[in-house]
């Protein structure tokens, strides 16, 4: 399958008065055409920074992409001029933000906000833009689109606003949609509706979706593949099946144990401790201080990525061939 986006060794830093925050510390992942990739992780682990870095929307200063590539259909976005990048934003790659209550400009009508991207990039006439806007409003399921286009954001509910934000993101028919916690700010029932809308949109348009979330319920519903992020790194990737049924990283296992599931019968185990400070992240595995299985090597050296299948990879010493041998000898020596 064609890789539409490939992120290689991405590093992002923020220079602040308090020091340098290493928000993203070497992230690799890719997404295929028509696929939904979920990036999961606790808040503060660098999910938003990663997605903003792809769009080159990191505020600079203080932020900067210090290393790595973002290959969109083979073209490295980190090398583009700002002007060229503008012609990609909203056209080839679109973004949806967490809070629909603040993502729309309160002083402009929905119609204006819908068509402005189209008019900027496609130079279409007003009537064609309006037609396209109506089409999008229908696609995302807004009743009476013609009337509603003349209204302002405050006249819509949160769920409706998120539908509008989605319509805005899709109006130029992008190939990749990055949704940063698109359902976090919504009621549970509305969340389900929005997730269904994503599925429908993908069916109709074939768009690839990077879905960023800290909610495994959301992931379980619509992701094809999952990347688990921790302290600025992706520590495990795999298909939904692999991550949910054969999680190999202790952090992934911990995450899964901390959400209610039918088979755990209410025994929830939160992960103790807190993620490391990104001002001075540890040299070794960042999960060491919280990991029940941590070994001496973990604290000193970051584990290499171990491939478990074509789609499944994990950064953990427990899966490393060398460590496995070592463990085996230790066990035999004890006997």
């Amino acid at each position: 399958m064609e890789k539409i986006l490939e992120v290689q060794d991405l590093h992002v830093r923020f220079t602040t008065y308090g020091g340098t925050v290493q928000a993203v510390r070497g992230v690799d992942f890719h997404i295929h055409k028509g696929e939904t990739l979920a990036i999961v992780g606790e808040s503060g682990c660098g999910k938003s920074v990663t997605s903003n870095a792809i769009m080159r929307l990191i505020p600079n200063p203080p932020g900067k992409i210090t290393k790595g590539k973002v290959l969109f259909k083979g073209q490295d976005l980190t090398k583009l001029t700002e002007k060229k990048m503008r012609s990609i934003r909203g056209v080839d790659i679109s973004m949806i933000f967490q809070d629909p209550m603040t993502a729309l400009n309160p002083t402009l009508t929905i119609g204006t906000q819908l068509v402005e991207g189209l008019k900027q990039h496609r130079k279409v006439s007003d009537s064609i833009a309006m037609k396209k806007a109506l089409e999008m409003m229908q696609l995302v399921g807004i009743p009476n689109p013609e009337e509603r286009m003349k209204q302002y954001p405050h006249q819509f509910s949160g769920g409706m606003r998120q539908r509008i934000v989605i319509a805005i993101a899709l109006i130029c028919e992008p190939e990749l949609l990055i949704a940063d916690e698109p359902t976090t700010a919504l009621d549970v029932t509305i969340q389900a509706q929005i997730l269904e809308l994503f599925e429908k949109i993908q069916e109709v348009t074939g768009v690839s979706i990077i879905l960023i979330t800290h909610d495994l319920g959301v992931v379980a519903k619509i992701a094809d593949r999952i990347a688990v992020m921790y302290a600025g790194k992706i520590i495990e990737t795999g298909t939904k099946r692999e991550i949910f049924y054969q999680p190999q990283h202790p952090y992934t296992q911990g995450l899964l144990n901390s959400v209610p599931r039918l088979d755990t019968k209410g025994k929830l185990q939160p992960i103790n401790g807190t993620p490391p400070d990104l001002f001075s992240p540890p040299l070794g595995c960042p999960f060491t201080s919280r990991c029940p299985l941590a070994m001496e090597v973990c604290n000193k050296v970051y584990p290499d990525s171990t491939r478990l299948s074509d789609s499944h990879a994990v950064d953990c010493w427990l899966q490393d061939e060398r460590a496995k041998k070592l463990l085996a000898t230790m066990v035999t020596n004890k006997r």
Partner: protein, 310 residues
Amino acid sequence: MLRYILKRLLIMILTLWIIITLTFVLMTSIPGSPFTSDQTSNETVQQNLEKHYNLDKPKYMQYLLYLKSIVTLDFGPSIKQPNQTVNDLLGRGFPISFELGIVTVIVAVISGITLGVLAALRHNGIIDYLAMGIAVLGISIPNFILATLLIQKLAVDWEIFPVATWASPMHMVLPVLALATGPMAIIARLTRSTMLEVLTQDYIKMARAKGLAPWKIIIKHALRNALMPVITIMGTLLAGILTGTFVIEQIFAIPGMGKYFVESINHRDYPVIMGTTVFYSAFLIIMLFLVDIAYGFVDPRIKVTKKEGE
């Protein structure tokens, strides 16, 4: 909408009535009468004059007569210059004061917003520090001091602009500068801080994610929202500029309403005091009303047309 306007109109009339009453009370309680400074007048002349201007009548009658003159918009002749009616003075002075005021407002708003936006876009840069430095000076120096400084430097020492009076655009520069700097500074600071806040909003990020050009994001998405607080304080600023014209007109010997107003108080010229006060108050009240209406136009969330409780 009609209901709202009617309600506002009622409140405006009530406000005006309170101002008139207060002015009347204050005016008549200042010691002295319009004729005390006249050397020529003797007892009988003074009595005749008082009779002529109804000043011999009881206070409440005088009050009612003033109210009547306001309702009929006929303030009668001036006491000091009996050959002129108050309406004549207003008709002559108002256009000049209005010109001074409106040019000041335009200069203050345009330069204030520009300065504020530039400062916000170059946040913590040299332009920012420069603009805010100017703003702090503008706020802390009172307009009459600035006026004298400007006259001394630009008119007397360097002879670039005329010292006083009101004849050509060159004559307008110094008084407008003196009057506009304060409000400009306030607008600049406010625009900067709201602009900085607006620029961090999600909808600005979303506009960037749409791939819009930077100038479009600033003008269409940021500025409009950043200007709301500026519109809110416009009422206060207008009041400040209006009272500022009294002082500035005195300093620059501009024959506007402010001059008549100040003179009328010095001379206890009751009809002129009443006429100018009513005129100034009515003008300001109407301006504040217009500012409120404008606010509704810029911010769709505020609907003046909506009934209360809706």
